[in-house]
Amino acid sequence: MTEIKQGDIVLQARGITKRYPGLVANDHIDFEIRAGEIHAILGENGAGKTTLMSILFGLTHPDEGEIYVFGKKVNFRSPLDAIDLGIGMVHQARKLISAHTVLENILLGHPHAGAILDMKKTAEEVKQLCDAYGYKIDLNAKVWHLSEGEKQMVEILKALYRGAKILIMDEPTSALAPPETEKLLETIQLMTKNELAIVPFITHKLPIVLSVSQRVTVLRRGKIVARLNTAEATEQSLAMEMIGREVLFNLKRPDVKIGKPILQVENISVHDDKDYWAARNISFEVREGEIFGIAGVSGNGQQPLAEALAGLRKASAGRVLFENKDITRLSSLERWKKGIGYIPSEQRAVGSIGDFSLVENLLMSYYYDDQFVKWGLIDAKKIRQLTQELIEEYNVATPNPDVKARNLSGGNLQKMILARVFSRKPRLIIANLPTQGLDVGAMEFVQNKLLEEKKAGAGILLISEDLDEIMALSDRIAPMYEGEFMDILPGGSAQRETVGALMAGHKQKAVQA
């Protein structure tokens, strides 16, 4: 291998095409990375970023196209081939074995691990890497004990320990709190300077792209729509390229009189599946016609809290009142019947049943309703008719109501879920990341629907990672960090920066601001 200088092309892809049934995820993509550069790839959900990276890492085989590494044409049969050439990857979804220790994860598949594992030597070497980047981590801990940030460190250490020269990072910041994000950005800048690690950095978060990358490639629906030096880009221009039209938040924020409290949460605490505290001692109330926004990065306890309120998880302590009645011990079904509607964050795994038709999916909220089920027998005609009506009302793009839910696109599926929940006329709506993964049009539709419900007098608990969404919709905002509410701020007057700082756990900073 010849000496590599900063600026040399180290990885090049030509005409990469990958087709999945019904769509082209990557459409003749040309792409290159130079030594010492951070090359950002930008695109909205489903644009094909992960697909492209998987191809460069040998995980997915392209239908067409060629890949060159350090100038040589390669044909990856498996990630092992890519790893051998010095490519490492930090995946969008964590790729660690939770039952194994940190060291075992780092050593797994290492080409020079040796038949008998030398844990002591490895520990020393990994320790040096840790020191170089200021990481502190217990190498013998089981991965399931670690926090999200620590897990990511492990992935980076794993790639570096394998001698990665090219490090692919797929949305590394999505699960991180702001301070962890900062730390990560520092680390990768250090890498490009010192270690000649080359890091294409993939995200759909514009500020991060602007602050850290030298070049940026924008993908839209599998095609490259722009490639430019970051210095020449602005947030607006990138957003335009990304979504192909101007972002117009056209929200009709209605003037609604806030009424009596519907939901009162008193000192509630919740544990997660692993028996750790997820939410601690939280109290608040949601009133009629009010949108109460919980702002926070995923993994700070919002999901367990939402589940506890929806009756899907036991509260370890505290009390929940709904319309002044104690519902702490009620099951989720009893809560549905009382008028609490829950929109879960995972539309495909939780919010719908992929193999069921839309009619049967609608039944998820109607099977307990005696108007649709008599003597245990389902009134098929009636539920079908209702499905048809809702499909029209919510503009769900589907040929007929017998289509399986798995065949609906993300936006349309979310519409269907909203239609199902809202059609029950809930008094309280718990909406957990309701616009996650949706494109702008669908996002706007969902947000407007929430506002309509607010106008109709329902209380809404909105959980979101998207600061803009929270700011735009909420009457009151509770930034949540590590299982606690940092504060509860009035929606109209709160400042973006204050909320952002609180979300990141910076109480001090917020006070100053």
Partner: protein, 367 residues
């Protein structure tokens, strides 16, 4: 793979039609029979003749047909015991244990009514329904064990039901052997015989009462899955436990009820075979063979894709294969074990053919 400008590719299927399912099953069964044909050949028997003997005995011989039907009812009930939990995504392979306990409990009812010592003291109109209830309760209670453990602790139901099969096997031995309470009059390692007065009705060698019950159950279960709230809940849970929990369906309730129902159905199979089939009317020495036969219910349930109506012809086929298989072994003086070999090959081939439910081969022209 490339063939003259075409590529043969494997493609994942999103779904398959009922016709496709039937076609695949038929081809699978035919392929298994083809493989077993080699055993016939090796034993010096023309496979065509071997199969002719099996099928004519099973389906066209006046002595074989009642045997086939009695066994088919047993296999059908066993397959229902598998189908109900599997529609909820739960595996019941404990039909054997459940049917042992169902039978024990049915004979326990008769025993309590004095059937063992002094002959029936009550009319069959009372004893038979009570024995049926006993079988349902006994099987259901044993089914409840994996149900509760699954629902409460998420304990692997496959292992638990498998362990219960062995526990049931030995408990039966305890009850019928060496002075056990249900010991037959001679102490020959078999259960006591039901007095003739409380034996279930038999027409031309077929236990018609349990046959009717099994057929009615097939229809009821079909309606349960297609039309009812409970069936919907079971299916929803089977497709997505997370989504159905979100919709307010209690995982405990589903695991518990499907296993109780499954166990009860298996218990009924136990009553059917040991309590109503002519010349048995007792728990026989070789009750373990019938426990093994209940595994046909799994194959039946799998091929029928959980459809209780589709299970009927399959149960009939397997009932015929067990009776005809043993017949042909004796008739053609084949070495013992050929009928079990047929079952084993069939099972493995069917597993292999499940592949075609999920994948298809496509030919694409090179561009």
């Amino acid at each position: 793979m490339k063939l003259a400008g075409y590529t043969l590719k494997l493609e994942k299927k999103a779904s398959f039609s009922g016709l496709e399912a039937i076609l695949i099953s038929v081809v699978a069964i035919a392929f298994a029979l083809f493989l077993v044909g080699f055993i016939f050949l090796q034993a010096g028997v023309n496979p065509a003749e071997g199969y002719k003997a099996i099928f004519t005995y099973a389906f066209a011989n006046s002595f074989g047909v009642p045997l086939t039907i009695n066994r088919a009812v047993f296999i059908l009930l066993s397959s229902f015991a598998f189908i109900v939990p599997i529609r909820a995504g739960l595996w019941n392979i404990g039909m054997a244990g459940q049917l042992y306990f169902g039978a024990l409990s049915a004979f326990g009812v008769a025993y309590a009514l004095g059937a063992r010592v002094s002959g029936a003291v009550l009319s069959p109109w009372v004893v038979i329904p009570l024995m049926i209830v006993g079988a349902i309760v006994g099987g259901g209670l044993i089914g409840a064990i994996p149900g509760v453990l699954k629902g409460r602790f998420n304990t692997n139901e496959i292992v638990v039901t498998m362990m219960l099969n062995f526990i049931g096997y030995w408990v039966v031995a305890h009850m019928i052997k060496e002075g056990g309470p249900f010991m037959g009059s001679g102490g020959e390692g078999e259960g006591y015989k039901l007095p003739a007065s409380i034996q279930a009705p038999v027409v031309s060698g077929v236990s018609v009462l349990t046959l009717a019950i099994a057929l009615i159950l097939a229809v009821l279960l079909y309606v349960l899955f297609t039309r009812t709230r409970f069936g919907y809940q079971i299916r929803a849970f089977g497709h997505s436990p997370a989504a159905s929990r979100y919709a307010g369906i209690s995982p405990f309730k589903i695991a518990f009820l499907t296993f109780v129902i499954g166990g009860a159905l298996a218990g009924l199979a136990g009553y059917h075979y040991f309590g109503t089939v002519p010349n048995l009317n007792q728990i026989p020495k070789n009750y373990g063979d019938f426990g093994d036969m209940a595994f046909y219910g799994i194959i039946c349930g799998l091929i029928s894709q959980g459809n209780p109506l589709a299970a009927i012809p399959l149960a009939l086929l397997f009932g015929g294969l067990t009776s005809g298989g043993r017949y042909v072994q004796g008739k053609l003086h084949l070495s013992y074990g050929i009928d079990y070999a047929l079952l084993g090959v069939l099972m493995i081939v069917l597993v292999a053919f499940q592949f075609f439910f999920r994948y298809r081969f496509v030919l694409k022209k090179e561009s």
